[in-house]
């Protein structure tokens, strides 16, 4: 795809290519870099935003303050994202098994119904969802009646909501993967007398590990990053996931608040950044499906 000639002209083209690629790196990292530098300055305005602070101007106070302010939110987000991610991946894997590996006549229309669910914007269901949890199934109040804190009940509602809207994409990811499994393998197991359940437990599930990695990573990022459902179903307060207090952090201050805002943004993004750095390839696979 490239010129393979060795003329000097080609060399310059390569140099230009790498120069553009590096400029793009600067473009994509500049907001993050600026944020990082601002978060460790005592005075956000002491140097240009993208320059590191002078040695005497360094501080960790924004980070400790932000971590303190967001600690509760981080815990809530973990309580939310971990079960939500595992449940939607598991349900997606099971649905894909029932609709792909097992064959029956009208499975394709059912599958189409699943996949269409991927494209629902959350705004389209906002009022029914919030009314459902507030009026028809107020888990928070039920919980409070038996001594479970109200916020935990509300958070459970949020988990179920995220699982429900995560099922379509998880099913599609697993379906793509299971379609390439050989029929002979499953058929052979069936001839040996393996039940449907046994085939799933002993053959399909162990083979799904790479796809589980992709799905778990994608879904974790989605649930962790959501603000809209968190805002409407749980709202601010004890049960709020980290995105809710983050949107608020430092808003009452003006320029002075940018240090803590930037630090807060990093604190809230840390789990997703760690996951992304460790499993970037799986993330890319998840989004490009």
């Amino acid at each position: 795809m490239t010129d393979t000639t060795d003329s000097t002209g080609t060399d310059w083209r390569r140099v230009g290519l790498y120069a553009v690629l590096v400029l793009l790196v600067v473009f994509y990292l500049l907001p993050l870099w600026t944020g990082l530098m601002t978060s460790i300055k005592i005075d956000a305005l002491s140097t240009a935003p993208f320059l590191p602070p002078a040695p005497s101007g360094f501080t960790a106070i924004h980070w400790t303050r932000a971590a303190h302010a967001l600690a509760g939110g981080l815990v809530n987000s973990l309580i939310l994202a971990i079960p939500g991610t595992i449940l939607s991946a598991l349900l997606g894997s099971m649905a894909a098994y029932g609709l792909t590996t097992l064959e029956w006549r009208y499975q394709i229309p059912v599958l189409v119904l699943f996949i269409a669910g991927i494209f629902i914007p959350y705004q389209a269901v906002l009022i029914p969802v919030s009314k459902f949890w507030a009026v028809y199934l107020p888990l928070g109040q039920y919980g409070a009646a038996v001594g479970i804190p109200k916020w935990l009940g509300d958070l459970t509602g949020l988990i179920i909501t995220h699982v429900a809207y995560g099922i379509p994409i998880c099913t599609l990811l697993f379906r793509t993967y299971y379609k390439d499994f050989s029929d002979e393998m499953v058929e052979a197991a069936r001839l040996d007398g393996a039940t449907t359940h046994r085939i799933y437990r002993r053959i399909i599930l162990p083979l799904s590990v790479p796809m589980f990695a992709v799905t778990l990573i994608y879904q974790f990022t989605q649930i962790w990053n959501d603000l809209l459902f968190a805002l409407v179903i749980v709202g601010p307060g004890k049960g709020a996931p980290v995105t809710v207090p983050l949107a608020q952090l430092g808003a009452s201050l003006s320029d002075v608040g940018f240090g803590i805002r930037m630090a807060g943004a990093f604190v809230a993004a840390l789990p997703t950044i760690i996951v992304y750095v460790l499993f970037g390839d799986q993330f890319a696979e998840g989004v490009s499906t």
Binding site: P31, A124, G235, G237, A251, A265, V287
Partner: protein, 320 residues
């Protein structure tokens, strides 16, 4: 995703054909509706289907039903009188129409720019470069971040006195501009930030598309003496139609999710919960501004109708 849908359609078609020309005997290992396979598959997909069906299709239907009532924020909707009154009200409302216009402008400009930027970067990354994975990982990084997080970064980037954007423009003798506060500039500023966040996604999709094109086609175009520009324009880009469609659908969904981003740019207003007054366990010092919308007659049903378009209701309305 486009490919997947196409495969689905093909499978569907193939099955029909098999049934018509193959007859019952050949083959359908699947059998009829009440075959063993169907019954034993139920425990696997039915629970997921019920949860998803209730959440997606149930909620959409309910939302539609609510939009036909005169339901207000509190109390119970009266399903006895269904009419399109709220639609008429929504489309007669300047705020709603302005928001609709803004949403549309954002949707179109964001999706198109993302596709173009993503394609250009994908072509650059496809030139057999070194450290390809590193470059790709960096370009895709913003997409892994929450809208709330990226909004914080861009709020600082766009700061009038000290933001990086104005510093860079200042080096060319321009500005400083008030990006977020100025109605004429804010939509463009938001679109630019969103392109920053999601062009990496378009790049990954296009890269996969480019990789799927056989190398011979690149070579054949070369042998025919086509210039690089011409080769891409005439031979390669037309073959990326599938990637373009799949990327634009997903980008449009992201554009509608941009509510999180816009809310975080300005947000310190918390909505009351539907159905009962909000409980007062908010953190101390949280400001609770009233909603910006005018008047006390904001029916909830109007919002049910307007929900797609509310995303941008805080943005200015061009030409008003």
């Amino acid at each position: 995703m486009r490919e997947k849908l196409a495969t689905l359609a093909r499978t569907l078609f193939r099955r029909r054909r098999a049934r018509t020309d193959g007859g019952e005997a050949t083959a359908n290992p699947s059998g009829g509706f009440l075959s063993d396979q169907f019954v034993s598959s139920l425990p696997y997909w039915l629970p997921a289907f019920l949860i998803m069906g209730l959440a997606v299709y149930g909620a959409i239907f309910w939302n539609f039903l609510l939009s036909l009532t005169d339901f207000q924020q509190f109390g119970n909707p009266d399903y006895g009188h269904l009419d399109l009154g709220m639609y008429a009200k929504a489309f007669g409302d300047q705020v709603f129409l302005g928001a609709l216009q803004n949403t549309f402008a954002l949707l179109v400009s964001f999706t198109l720019c993302c596709l173009v930027v993503g394609l250009l970067i994908a072509i650059l990354v496809d030139q057999k470069i070194r450290y390809e994975n590193t470059f790709r990982t960096i370009y895709l990084l913003p997409m892994a971040l929450s809208f709330v997080v990226t909004a914080q970064f861009w709020l600082w980037m766009y700061n009038k006195q000290n933001g990086v954007v104005n510093i860079i423009l200042g080096a060319f003798g321009l500005g400083p501009y008030e990006w977020i506060g100025n109605p004429a500039l804010v939509l463009g500023a938001v679109v630019f930030a969103l392109i920053w966040q999601f062009s990496g996604y378009a790049m990954v999709v296009y890269l996969a598309g480019l990789r799927a094109i056989p190398t011979e086609q690149f070579e054949a175009a070369r042998v025919d003496g086509a210039t690089t520009l011409r080769m891409y324009w005439r031979v390669i880009i037309p073959q990326l139609k599938g990637a373009t469609i799949s990327a634009s659908v997903v980008l449009m969904v992201f554009a509608l999710k941009a509510f999180d981003f816009l809310y975080s740019l300005s947000g310190s207003y918390y909505p009351p919960k539907v159905g009962h007054p909000r409980d007062d366990d908010g953190p101390a010092g949280v400001q609770r501004r009233p909603p910006r919308v005018r008047g006390g007659d904001r029916h909830h049903a109007v919002r049910a109708r307007a929900r797609h378009h509310r995303t941008l209701s805080r943005l200015p309305i061009p030409g008003r």
